[in-house]
Structures are given as C-alpha cells and as structure tokens.
Subunit: 297 residues, 2 copies
Amino acid sequence: MTDRAVSLDRLSLNTATCKPYTLAQCVAAAKAGGLGAVGPWRDRVQEVGAETASKIIADAGLRTSSLCRGGFITARDDETATNALADNRLAIDEAATLGTSELVMVVGGLPAAYELMSMPHTPADATDKNLVAARQRVADRIAELVPYASDKGVRLALEPMHPLFTADRGVLTTLKQSLDIAADHPPDAVGVVVDTYHVWWDPDLQTDIARAGREGRISSYQICDWTLPLAASTLNSRGFPGDGFIDFPTITRWVVEAGYTGDIEVEIFNEDIWALPAQTTITTMAQRYSDLVLPYL
Amino acid sequence: MTDRAVSLDRLSLNTATCKPYTLAQCVAAAKAGGLGAVGPWRDRVQEVGAETASKIIADAGLRTSSLCRGGFITARDDETATNALADNRLAIDEAATLGTSELVMVVGGLPAAYELMSMPHTPADATDKNLVAARQRVADRIAELVPYASDKGVRLALEPMHPLFTADRGVLTTLKQSLDIAADHPPDAVGVVVDTYHVWWDPDLQTDIARAGREGRISSYQICDWTLPLAASTLNSRGFPGDGFIDFPTITRWVVEAGYTGDIEVEIFNEDIWALPAQTTITTMAQRYSDLVLPYL
C-alpha cells in the first residue's frame, strides 16, 4: 500500500454522510478516496439486499465497520414493541450477512415524543414523559435481543446521544449510562459507540472512555463536529471535524489510550454536505482526519 | 393568608420570564399574582440601582430568591479575566444589597466561542477548543471569588447548563461536575442550581440531586420546560412547565426528598412569552406550578 492508503486505512465512510448516494456509489467513492471501510445505513443495504450489499463492499476490498442502525425500542405497548424487536432481529441478520460485528443502536425517545418520531402512538402515550421508565424499557429490550444477536455473532452497539435528542430520538445519553446497561451482558454481546458529536460535552468523558476500553466495549469511534448556530433541522446540524468546537486530538488520544484499534467512521448529517459530490465530501473528510485525528492514533 | 397566597408563596418570578418589563413592573405583577418572591436579573437591578431595587421588592413584601447572574469566567487572558472577576465582585455586592444569599453563576463557554459570546477575543482564542482547560479555569476562578462572596454572605450558585450550551455559554454541564467543584468550598460559599431545563436529561439526576441536598448545596430550584422543535434562537427555546417533555412531578419529588425548602423560580427565555402581558405570563406559570409542582412539594 502507498503511504496515503496506509494512512487512510482506518477511515470509514458512514453512508449517512453521503446520503443522496447509493451504497455502490458510496463504496466506489470511498475506494477511490483510499478509505479502508464503509459503515452503511440499512436503507441503502435494503435497496439492494444484504447479500448484494456485502458483495459490493467486499468486491471493492473494503471492510464494513458497522451497520446503522437498530433501535427505537422504547414503545410502551406490546404490539409496537414486538414489531420493533422483530425489526431489530432483521437488522441483526443484515449485520451478520454484511460481516460486521457491530450493529449501532439508536434507542428511541419518550412516549410523549412518539408522534415526533413517527412511531405509532395513543393519547396516553402523548402525556407520558416518564424518562426513567423509558430507559428501563431500553435495558429490558436490549436483554431480550442479546441471545439472538450473540447467536449471529453481532454486538449491539449502544449509542449514547447528545441530550439535545433525549426527548425525541434517544433516551440513552451518556457513555456511563450505556456501559451500565451493557454491564449485564458479555463484552462481545453489548458495546458502546463513541460518537464525538454526542459525547464531547461530557465532563466524565475521559473516565468513561477508559472504562469502555477496560471493559472491552468500544464498538465504534465516530467523528463529526458540533457547529453553531444549529441548523433549522437540529438533526442535520453536524459538521466536518474542524468546522466546530470539538477537541478531536484530545478525544482521539483518550480513545487510543483505551485501546481502540478499529475503524473510525465519519457520520455527518448536514444538508449542505449532502449537496456535495461524494468525492468532494470524501476528500474533505480525509483531509480533516489527516489533520485532526491521524496524528494522535 | 388566603389559600391561594399560601399555595403560591414559594413561587418566584425570574425577571427573564418577563424580559420586556422593568423590575417595578415585574414586582407589581408578581405581587398581584400572589407570588412570594422574584429573582431579578442584574440589568433590571442596575437600571434603578441595587438599593432602590431592594426597596421595590421589600416594599411589595416579596423575597429575592436569587440574583441572575455572575459568571463568564473562562477567559484565557489576564486582562479579560481580571475584568470578569471585578464584575463578579460587583454582582456579589448587588446580591448582598438585595438581601439574597444566592448569586447564580453562568460560567461561560470555550475560547473558540468567545466571539459568539461577545467576549474580547484573539486569533489564538478562536482555535482553542480545550474544554478540560476551560473547566479548570472555572474552578480556579470560583476559588478566587469565594473569600469575597463569603465575606458578603453571598453563595456562588453554580448553574450546570444543558450540553446544548457547552460551547458558547456554559462549560459546566452536570450537577455532578458542579458539586465536584463546589466540594472544595463550604456549603454556604458555593452551591448549585437545579434548573429542570438544563438537567432533566441527566441519567444520574436523582443521585446527584440527593447528593446536592445531602451536602447542603441546593441554591435554587428553577422550572422551565424542554419544548420541540427548538426555536431559531436556541437560547430562547424554553417553555412553560407542561408545554414540553420534562417530568416535573418526578424531578420535584427528588428535589423535595433532597430537603430543599426554598423558593421555586420560573425562568423562561421565549420570545412568544415575552410578547405577553406580564399578568398573563404570571397567571399561566402559577397554573402550571399548581398542576405540576405544588402537589409534589
């Protein structure tokens, strides 16, 4: 491999960063850019089927760093919960077919926000703001999914989300909380995602990254920046590393010190970036990675 | 006192909730609404002077639940830091004159965001995203202010802010972090603010409210709701209790169990609410307080 190929080998394109492009287009662009891996979203996998998706990635000589995403398991009613668990088992199957051990889990929000999440909901849901109970349902349903996932060689990678999203996207908020839920299961059954966007603000970040490493649970390291002002759609308010306020060298050092040697995904939700040609996006992310992350690996 | 007066006696109007109104107008409206206290902001105190402000509040028979706010103490350069400390000493004087023991501290953000905070800044500041160092400066400067504050009988009430604001408003993020900084000082010198808007998402909230109570450090309980979607100005995106996703009965029970018996401030930044007559705002907040907080006290 050339120096450039070596240097970008751990860099992975999460397909959400190039949202308008098919899996084949993302894979081709990642390959052309010298990246070592892709992290596909399920919609782009499902439109070709997991077998074909696996072949597209393997034929390009890339790894699948993770599959995004399972989750949305906070439902109160049995029918919605049963459907969610079935969909998560399908996601586990897809991850296994793709040959990735890591299924990223975005767990879902409060009953009072089911409507905002486009989940089935009742009038009783709309008044339920019980965060403690919603979090307990997450722990319970992760436990329900673990045997199936472990059987397939897939790890449920719990992704704590920025408290901006606690109500309407993910009641898992901190690495500590995620590790506490994971602690009931073996390290190869339940892991955690360190996504800079979601955890950069946490005063206990160094401590909890170290714990995650010590406990063998770092499923993924994802990089993306906190930019201001927030975009009108707060979900799509993320930036290239370097465009915002996150201290990537420091957090990267903590992740390295925790023993993480896996792929480093760039997952950015941003409408301006989605309007770019995929190759431009990949060139920029590779440059930022080379400046802000690679020197600290 | 009538039943209504008794029931609203612990309710306090933070003047930011009625931002267009003078202190005298806020006090008159709070008094007419049956509230027991006000929590003034410094701008409304300074426009009449602290002595007169104190008299306006006392003449209405109200208490001053806190003074908002000191802080913005994350400066890297000596001159800005010196100026900030001087301004905080002035705020301490004002709190003492007003007869409140609680000076709310919003500590300020990262150097890279000084421009967004309208703080003096240099090109070197603009690239400084060192959150760990900014937090250490907060701890150091609180320690510098403590002797002066204690001498005046004023407690520095550290306000952890929602991680939405970590970059550009407050690097203090959790109650735990605030309590850890406070731990270096006596309980009557440094306290913490429990503002539902800022801390509702915290998985350790019950534990840390209990700790704050046990350590005698709850300076203020403030109520305000997390509404979605966020307003275009994220600072002004807060709602009346009941309009958003926060579980007020549960958090109120935790605060009560922690032994807090002080005033309960309503502090809401919201342009729509600012457009209302003060009396309408106070009627609504009193109703929400009666529904969502009072039964759990």
